[in-house]
């Protein structure tokens, strides 16, 4: 089961023949992911790493029956690639690209909403597309499918779901859990941009419904109010235990801490308000990152034996 991706997921890589696309596709294939081919406009009909290259997503999906897209297209064109993938009929779109203009993502969200609601003119098809990212490490269901740039070997199949706004911070959390003997059901990097596809709440709701997931670790950071919204969702809708770490306690307000979304502005997005909301929702908040693995492990044991 897990969420989003599994061993049957068939992936098309957009920006397949570029440096990033080539390197990471290779890594995904070695991990065992089913990469069906790629799209690079103008290179259709050629073969790259033994796989077919198509000019358009529509053709790629039609010929391979792929149900997921993985995007490594440069920032000026990435938003268009997301919309191309969504309209070609894949169910999951994972966009790794960092640096997409925020208003491009606003247009993407409007487009996806149109596809889903069927209300936005001709585009409406009543079809839900799950977009993960942009500016994220991707999605991995350990030992089944890796669609992203995360190091595969640190993961282990298991029952802890992880959703995170950060890249290397996620690896840190995964690694600590794996070392504690706690495997992961699926690890979703939702990315560090202010306007993104899947948010915490959507990922949490998928994890809550997934029978393989027993607990969820949510890794947030300063900026925006996604953590506060997630806290509300957890309080009202979740039975599974949720753990959380939020980065940026000591970050100065008004400065963008690497990620476009990680900025405390006009009193919103502060660390303290997030922690308060998470605690109120009954979420176990981890203050010291180094204790994440241990804390989750101890709490879960407690739950089983008591």
């Amino acid at each position: 089961m897990a969420i989003l991706l599994n061993k049957n997921s068939k992936i098309i890589v957009q920006g397949f023949t570029g440096g990033q696309g080539t390197f990471h596709s290779q890594q995904c294939i070695e991990y065992g992911s089913k990469i069906a081919g790629g799209v690079t406009p103008g290179k259709g009909g050629t073969v790259h790493m033994g796989l077919p290259v198509f000019n358009t997503m529509a053709e790629a999906v039609k010929k391979t029956g792929a149900d997921a897209a993985l995007i490594f297209v440069p920032p000026p064109y990435a938003a268009d690639s997301i919309m191309e993938a969504a309209s070609a009929g894949v169910k999951h779109v994972i966009c790794i690209t960092e640096g997409i203009p925020v208003l491009d993502m606003v247009r993407v969200k409007k487009f996806l909403k149109g596809l889903e609601s069927g209300a936005d003119g001709a585009a409406g098809e009543g079809r839900k597309v799950y977009l993960v990212g942009p500016n994220c490490p991707g999605v991995i269901t350990p030992e089944e499918c890796k669609a992203g740039i995360m190091p595969g070997y640190i993961h282990k199949k298991g029952s802890v779901g992880i959703v995170s706004r950060s890249g290397t911070l996620t690896y840190e959390a995964v690694w600590q859990l794996t070392k504690e003997g706690l495997g992961q059901s699926t690890v979703v990097g939702i990315g560090g941009d202010p306007v993104q596809g899947m948010n915490f709440t959507e990922a949490l709701s998928l994890f809550e419904k997934d029978p393989e997931t027993r607990a969820v670790v949510m890794i947030g950071e300063i900026g925006g109010n996604a953590e506060e919204e997630a806290a509300r969702f957890v309080k009202e809708n979740m039975k599974k235990p949720v753990f959380s770490f939020v980065a940026g306690k000591t970050a100065p307000p008004g400065r963008r801490m690497g990620h476009a979304g990680a900025i405390v502005e006009g009193g919103s997005g502060a660390h303290s308000s997030k922690i308060e909301a998470l605690k109120k929702a009954g979420i176990t908040v981890i203050e010291n990152l180094s204790e994440l693995g241990k804390t989750v492990s101890e709490k879960l044991k407690e739950k089983i034996y008591t």
């Binding site: 890594q27 890249g167 180094s290």
Partner: protein, 402 residues
């Protein structure tokens, strides 16, 4: 990227949003003299940056061009009634240090001063377009009272705030602008002018790839006009590549070290502590600063060395960190994923050798080929202290920094 008030007002003018008549932007004491000399007569000498010929008489308003709200209370806005006063205020304001509630304990040096005709304000309104992250849309926010910061309004008078989503393709629609004008009690005499300002504000937001466009206050004048007294525009850094005109403007926000780091592709933000930090990934970098604090120390910087940390990048990162003379210890926290720990260790050894690093160095490596990486550091003959966890590394760094 944040624009200064006068830069933002130039954009306003292009979009037909009325702003006070600009006399000059003063950058040096010489500019003050030139401005006085030519005031009211011929066009100003070309040496006077961004200056324009003047007409009429005072009063004038003299405004410090710094990127922080609350300037007025800190002495950064003065009204001059006479030319002598005007000259005095300009001279005093240049080079002055301004600290407000938005500068977080640091003072900003005034490098430019804007002089414009003063306005007879009858009523102040707040209006802005911001990015609503959770709704994924630009949102127009307005309040029938202006002057205060919108955060204060949101806290104290939430019932006075009007919100209106702006369609990314259509902009602010006519009916929305009308609805807004009625909600804010805009008098009939300036009604059409106001709706035009509201729609053009949304247009500026979309066409300039902004994350904030704000007029606070938008003033109704005693003479029955409407005019943007202040102007604030923040541009999305990710969109700078297609905002060529805006991109050519100088970066007023970053320090010299920050600008230098940016040029070589390193994300660096200077902080107040004495522990230099080098981390891969923004989230882990933030978490490292937090851990240092938890261990009783203070980080000197945020530094994300990027995903593919090679020798060159690591060398540059060390050099950037060491430009801050307060740095007493350096903490390197790298999670080797695709980039393997032995390669990173090799990079650290070569870089420290290359620059002859004297500052205590604490390294925490984790991830792919970590054992080999640690061996390389251990056998390098360099004084590198290693740690197995981030917590241990932070504690060691704090000890070394004291």
């Amino acid at each position: 990227m944040k624009l200064l008030e006068y830069e933002a007002k130039e954009i306003f003018e292009k979009y037909g949003i009325p702003v006070p008549h600009k006399i000059a932007v003063i950058k040096t004491l010489k500019d003050v003299e030139l401005c006085m000399m030519h005031h009211g007569t011929a066009p100003l000498a070309p040496q006077v940056s961004e200056a324009m010929p003047t007409t009429g008489t005072g009063p004038w308003v003299v405004k410090a061009q710094v990127l922080a709200g609350g300037r007025g209370k800190a002495g950064g806005i003065k009204i001059a009634a006479t030319e002598a006063e005007l000259a005095d205020f300009c001279k005093n304001m240049l080079g002055m240090e301004i600290a407000t509630h938005q500068t977080h304990g640091q003072a900003l040096k005034v490098k430019e001063v804007l002089v414009e005709n003063a306005t007879n304000i009858a009523r102040e309104i707040y209006i802005s377009v911001v990015l609503d992250r959770s709704k994924a849309t630009p949102m127009l926010i307005a309040c029938s009272q202006g002057g205060m910061s919108i955060e204060e309004f949101a806290k104290e008078k939430p019932e006075l705030i009007v919100k209106m989503p702006v369609d990314i393709d259509a902009g602010l629609k006519d009916f929305q602008a009308r609805q807004l004008a009625f909600a804010l009690n805009i008098p009939g005499s300036v009604f059409p002018e106001f709706t035009k300002i509201a729609r053009n504000l949304a247009k500026i937001f979309i066409e300039s790839d902004a994350s904030l466009v704000e007029i606070n206050p938008l003033a109704l004048t005693k003479e029955g006009g409407i005019i943007a007294i202040d102007a604030k525009i923040v541009i999305d850094d990710n969109a700078v590549f297609r905002q060529k005109l805006l991109a050519s403007k100088p970066d007023h926000e970053s320090s010299e070290i920050e600008k230098e780091a940016k040029e070589i592709g390193i994300n660096y933000i200077g902080l107040d502590g004495n522990i230099g930090c080098m981390v891969n990934g923004a989230g882990l970098a933030m978490a490292t600063l937090d851990t240092v604090k938890l261990a009783g120390g203070n980080a000197a910087n945020f530094l994300d060395v990027g995903g593919g940390a090679n020798v060159e990048q690591i060398t540059k990162a060390f050099q950037i960190i060491l430009k801050d003379k307060r740095v007493k210890a350096i903490l390197v926290n790298i999670f080797g994923g695709i980039m393997k720990c032995d390669n990173i260790a090799q990079g650290i050894v070569e870089a420290t050798g290359k620059i002859g690093l004297k500052t205590p160095l604490i390294v925490r490596l984790e991830g792919t080929r970590v054992k080999e990486g640690k061996e390389i550091l251990k056998n390098s003959g360099l004084k590198i202290e290693q740690a197995d966890s981030l917590w241990e590394a932070a504690q060691k760094a704090v000890r070394s920094s004291k």
